[in-house]
Amino acid sequence: MNEAWRYFLLFFGATLVANILLIRFIALCPFFGVSGSLETSLGMSISVVFVMVMATSVSWVAWNYILEPLGVGEFLYIPAFILIIASLVQFVEMVIKKTSQPLYRAMGIYLPLITTNCAVLAAATESVKPGFFTKLNIAYHYGFIESVVYTLGVAVGFSIVLIIFAAMRERLDLAPVPKFFRGIPIAFITAALFSLAFMGFAGMFGL
């Protein structure tokens, strides 16, 4: 298996085959919370891609150079990664506020939401303890580039699904839905059907 193909499989697997929202059902809170309108879901998606990649990079370094050598990673990774992600988001928010007002206006209100977004923790955790792609024979130790590619895949998968789902919900608002199904109930049903559709990716390229 050559390098480029492996990166592609990693990315493709994280994006579609094991989609974080529809196949693994992680981060369902923002999935339903900010999918009300296309505009907010776009802002959220950009922020998630940005934060996830940064958080994973820092977490990978922390795991490989601090937690793992000390032998405490196995039980300390959750508090350590949460600490890293929360501080990182705060830090990024400050920097953006200082350096770029337009970017802050576009992303600013979503950044605090991402602090406690479990998808970010999941991506960071899996980049150091991958449990999903055992068939790729890189079961336990992603290199730095691999973990970034994997995280990018997770984030892009999150974004694609969030944006498509927001577009669907905007159409659903105008659809003749029975009154008691309006809003979140019909969104749940739609998400379930959407998830079924995504199961069609299972097994592609042997993933």
């Binding site: 405490v72 039980f75 508090p79 350590a80 705060q90 830090f91 920097v95 506020k97 200082k98 105008l174």
Partner: protein, 311 residues
Amino acid sequence: MDWSLIWKAAIALAGFGALLGAILAIASKRFHVEVDPRVEEVLDALPGSNCGACGLPGCEPAAEAIVRGEAAVTVCKAGGPDVAAEVARIMGVEVDSTVPLVAHIHCRGGATLSPIRAVYQGVNSCRAAEIAMGGGKACPYGCLCLEDCATVCPVNAITFDEDCVRRVNVKKCTGCGLCADVCPRDLIEMVPAPATVFVRCKCQYTGKKALSVCKVACIGCKRCKKVCSEDAIHVDNGFATIDYEKCTNCGECAMACPTDSIQIWVVDDEHPEGGEFVVPEGKKQRRGGTGDDSGETTAAIEIASPGETPE
């Protein structure tokens, strides 16, 4: 049990905490952005519902605009005079006491008073119906009854019953004007809250043509204009409008209106919803008179003298 593991864990986590805390502390100094403290105060004074009625994206941009002097201290319509006074106090300026506004829907024809000419089965929205050949209502100027205004109202002040009788709860209405923006037929006007006399029609048809599409249409007869002692009523485009800067709420026009399209809004304790439209007391009911909006009448409509109709 390996006790060294506990020490290592404690040191690692404490180290992380100290390092990240230090980075954040430095960053908060290094990347500190000067914010006018009044922005925070103004933001606290504003309602915080981000309704957007001020024309700005939300309460925080509104607070910034107020502090920069780009927006008036009275910019928050939803908050009303209380919020304006509080904001003015923070900003250290005097505030003119503004009259609060409430929404009024200039159409009275519900399902029973105004006939339909077709059954509309499209997207359930007034704006969509207006595009699709003007919906099902016979009157091309009247309320489409698909409740866009009620949907957009942030405080649920507008209600429709099954006969499409609309009701604005003036106690809930904050005067934000979102409903007025959304109505495709421009039927909603923001009127001063003390006003009690309303022309409940914007039909541009006159005389019998108006009555053929709605039993309670304004037929453009100009009787209201004649009885008005303040010159507050004008009849243009086939319907009467009241100038609330001149109107004294005397109700003479409602007495004179032959089709009961001018009515009086009565606010009292019997109407917890904020009030009700009535025909003035002592007015001689015309044949088939329709005092209430349910339109429980079978009598044929007949206008005594439409001779004063223009054209």
